[in-house]
């Protein structure tokens, strides 16, 4: 019941956010120079034909009318038709979204795979050896390197080593599990750097807490305490971080999709922008905004599920 009320509140709160995104996107794409009709018709198309095409696409109407028309359509699920591919934008976007989501989730998975053991080991080591400057410096250095290295550079290095040089994984493509390994790590490694620090800090916060001392005094083994109790407590900040970082992860996916030739939203957005495919740009940004809002909501619900003390607002 509490979750249901939370979801209703968040959906209502999302409406003005989505409206703002739609409005700002509309304004920006119409301010940016470049004529979509010229792109479609060609630079030396007959001016008469260009005028006819502009009228056919509704681009000769006042901006306010175009915006109202778009909003009206969007409310009924009609996001318009791509100027370039002539496909309904909703269909176009839904075709590509699963690829991008798949990559984003795989990226999160890769990040957790690296950051969790790294952060836990660093925390346990600190707990046992005390806060030695050398350990701290090494950990900070390696995680900083991961954070500072751009996704595309990581991706390029991974491709060169694991695909071109050693041929362990495919260079590009989207078929089969092997094809997602390198893109996932390219996307996740940078996030892993930040996450590892959060994991380490969270585990250190919990590892000597009162409830842990109680568990130890009850004779519970250290490993069980760590993995069953400490990590559970430590996961809340990690989830919070993921919620915040998800937007950046999606942005990174745009670049990674290009490097690994994965036909997702990222490639679509870049192509749409360069082609001035206005309805497609509008629809794609809207869908990305909705995805981020939904993911944030889901992360909050997940946090509440893990820790009943977390209040849902």
């Amino acid at each position: 019941m509490r979750i249901a009320r939370f979801l209703v509140r968040r959906v209502l709160a999302a409406v003005p956010v989505v409206l703002a995104v739609v409005t700002v996107t509309f304004a920006i794409i119409h301010l940016v120079p470049g004529d979509p009709v010229q792109v479609i018709m060609g630079a030396d198309a007959d001016p008469q034909r260009i005028a006819e095409a502009r009228e056919a696409l509704g681009l000769d109407r006042p901006l306010a009318v175009q915006f109202a028309d778009y909003l009206g359509g969007a409310l009924t699920g009609d996001l318009g038709t791509s100027f370039f591919t002539r496909q309904p934008v909703l269909e176009l976007v839904l075709e590509k979204t699963p690829q991008t989501l798949q990559l984003a989730v795989a990226g999160i998975g890769a990040a957790l795979l690296i950051s969790t053991p790294l952060g836990v080991l660093a925390a346990v080591r600190t707990q046992r050896r005390g806060r030695k400057a050398g350990d701290q410096t090494a950990f900070t250095m390696w995680t900083s390197i991961l954070v500072a290295t751009p996704d595309f550079l990581i991706g390029t290095i991974l491709v060169y080593l694991f695909a071109v040089r050693w041929r362990w994984f495919p260079v590009a493509g989207s078929e089969g599990v092997p094809s997602i390994v390198l893109p996932a790590f390219a996307l996740g490694l940078s996030l892993a750097g930040i996450q590892a620090r959060v994991v380490r800090a969270s585990v250190l916060d919990s590892i000597d807490g009162p409830f842990v001392r109680t568990l130890r005094s009850a004779g519970i083994r250290e490993r069980r305490i760590l993995f069953r109790h400490v990590l559970r407590n430590a996961s809340i900040p990690v989830l919070t971080l993921l919620s915040v970082e998800f937007g950046r992860l999606l942005a990174g996916a745009l670049i990674i999709e290009n490097i690994f030739a994965r036909p997702g939203l990222g490639t679509l957005i870049v192509d749409s922008i360069s082609r001035r495919d206005l309805p497609a740009i509008q629809g794609e940004i809207l869908i990305v905004a909705v995805i981020i809002l939904v993911v944030n909501m889901a992360m909050d619900v997940q946090a509440a599920a893990i820790d009943p003390r977390v209040e849902l607002h």
Binding site: A43, R86, A163, G173
Partner: protein, 554 residues
């Protein structure tokens, strides 16, 4: 029937030409004209031979994966804004074909007669579409009428078809197509794959976009947008095209076009065998060619690197000549094009009808002494390495170009050359559509871009005063130069149907243009196909599309 060389104006995009690595993003009609030169793997250059016969087909069935940098947004030729892609050439045949020697040859039309503004075609009687629909005059009429129908909202096909006035079906296999007014490039434009004929049955059923049906050597199997297009050999295919060595069905049983936007990724796929053949440009192409492990096919393109001066801002012709004399074309070829180009001087590329190479004599060459002479004559003196007049430095010039490589890199080169010659340049590298808007608004002093043409008649689109943006907001004369003599020559060339006379007119036009010191070609680009050992029969159509039906794999 002897097919006379005819005046041709192929639709090209002068300004909308983003050379996005490997994948050309915007909607350039990426056309090339090829000689049939193949090199074999095993060395940096290999042997070059002229291929006129089809290679021996493999005994076993095989499939091919072709890496393609740019995907067609639509497989319906009427709606596809991009001309000349692999897709159109594989799925559809055109009425006529542009041959390597610049003449027009038969394809779906066996022969034709020209009568003023009309052409009557005798069509082949032994052709069917992939869905079994017979190819005939009605099918041709249906498509051409559909292209001009406002409800279709056709793209490139509409531009290419020109002032189409209608078609008359004389009998099942005879059709008369008319234009109003007389349209000089009519016949050659019918060789443009945007005017490849689709099945009227599929068109009427509304399934053409999702399941394209033509008479081409391949039929449609599957299209995953952004990823790949799978085509299957059409076993009933035959052609009478003079430029095709293989007149029957394709050798490959199946061909997959794999869409890869990123040039480095495409290069990696070639290296690792992820694709059998792909076209590349830039450093990746040079690297792989030099490695010598892949077969190579280097061929000239129609594209020129274009350097233009806004004459509305830089009004002194001596200054413009000095600017032009500051740029070293050989350096641009080596450092900018990575050697995949040749220095060029005429505003018309060498493969185009009407090209006059002698224009090189009247176009400024790299000469810093000449720069000094011209600027001093114009009343400037060199102060602290910068030209100044009455103590005031020559204004910093704004160079607009595209924010993708190699344009961005080459802009830096040009800036450096000009700086060495005493000029300051500020580079404004922006996205393609934005760059075009900027130069149309006249917010530039210099412009670095590219264009290409099959016929010198395209000069009118680029340099006639009627196409100055102040007159025509979508015009391409971004030099803003108004020359009545040049205008008259370009108009005369567009109306003249005698090829010999057209050559004279356009030779004069190129010289007249050169004298304006407003526009300069720096180099003519080459393109490179790389392929796995065992792949043979590599050849391309005149528009740059790969002849997929002639490829073999051993």
């Amino acid at each position: 029937m002897r097919h006379a060389r005819l005046p041709v104006i192929w639709l090209t995009v002068a300004l909308v030409a983003a050379a996005c690595s490997g994948g050309e993003t915007t909607e350039t009609t990426e056309t090339t004209q090829a000689g049939e030169v193949t090199t074999t793997a095993g060395g940096g250059g290999g042997e070059t031979t002229t291929t006129t016969e089809a290679p021996e087909p493999s005994a076993e069935a095989f499939s091919l994966v072709v890496g393609v940098g740019r995907e067609a947004p639509s497989l319906d030729p009427a709606l596809n804004p991009i001309c000349c892609g692999y897709e159109n050439a594989a799925l559809y045949d055109t009425l006529v074909a542009l041959l390597p020697d610049g003449t027009i040859g038969p394809s779906l039309a066996e022969s034709w007669t020209i009568d003023g503004a009309s052409i009557t075609f005798e069509l082949r009687q032994d052709v069917s579409f992939h869905d079994g629909t017979p190819f005939n005059a009605e099918a041709v009429k249906a498509y051409l009428d559909r292209v001009v129908d406002p409800a279709t909202n056709a793209a490139n096909a509409l531009n290419v078809l020109g002032p189409y006035a209608g078609s008359e079906v004389v009998d099942d296999f005879t059709i008369t197509i008319s234009w109003d007014p007389v349209y000089a490039p009519a016949l050659v434009n019918l060789a443009n794959t945007s005017l490849g004929i689709p099945s009227p049955t599929a068109t009427a059923a509304g399934t053409l976009e999702d399941h394209p049906v033509g008479t081409g050597p391949f039929e449609f199997v599957e299209w995953v947008r952004g990823d790949h297009l799978t085509l299957r050999r059409y076993d009933g295919y035959t052609t009478i095209r003079d430029d095709m060595a293989n007149k029957g069905p394709a050798y490959a049983e199946e061909v997959t076009l794999r869409y890869v936007d990123n040039a480095t990724t495409l290069a990696n796929l070639l290296e690792t065998g992820g694709v059998d053949i792909a076209g590349l440009e830039g450093p990746d192409a040079i690297r792989l060619e030099a490695a010598g492990e892949l077969g190579t096919f280097r061929y000239p393109t129609i594209f020129l690197r274009w350097f233009a001066i806004n004459t509305a801002n830089i009004t002194d012709i001596r200054v413009r000549e000095a600017i032009a004399s500051s740029i070293d074309r050989a350096g641009m070829v080596a450092a900018g094009a990575g050697g995949l180009a040749t220095p060029h001087y005429s505003t018309v590329n060498s493969l185009a009808f009407g090209y006059d190479g002698s224009v090189e004599d009247v176009v400024p060459h790299y000469d810093l002494d000449a720069v000094t002479g011209l600027m001093e004559e114009a009343g400037y003196e060199l102060i602290d390495g910068r030209w100044s007049q009455d103590g005031t430095p020559f204004p910093t010039m704004v160079l607009v170009t595209f924010s993708v490589d190699p344009y961005r890199q080459e802009a830096v080169l040009v800036q450096d050359y000009l700086r060495q010659a005493g000029f300051e340049v500020e580079i404004r590298a922006v996205e393609v559509a934005a760059a075009i808007s900027e130069v149309r608004a006249g917010n530039h002093d210099l412009y670095l871009a590219r264009y290409g043409m099959f016929d010198a008649g395209t000069l009118r689109n680029l340099f006639h005063s009627e196409n100055t943006p102040t007159v025509n907001p979508t015009g391409n004369n971004i030099t803003f130069y108004d020359d009545p003599v040049l205008d008259a020559l370009l108009e005369e060339g567009g109306q003249e149907t005698d090829p010999a006379r057209r050559i004279e007119i356009y030779s004069e036009a190129q010289r007249q243009l050169a004298s304006a010191m407003s526009t300069f070609a720096l180099y003519e680009a080459q393109a490179l196909l790389l392929f796995q050992p065992g792949v043979d029969g590599v050849a391309i159509h005149q528009d740059g599309a790969l002849k997929l039906s002639e490829l073999t794999k051993g």
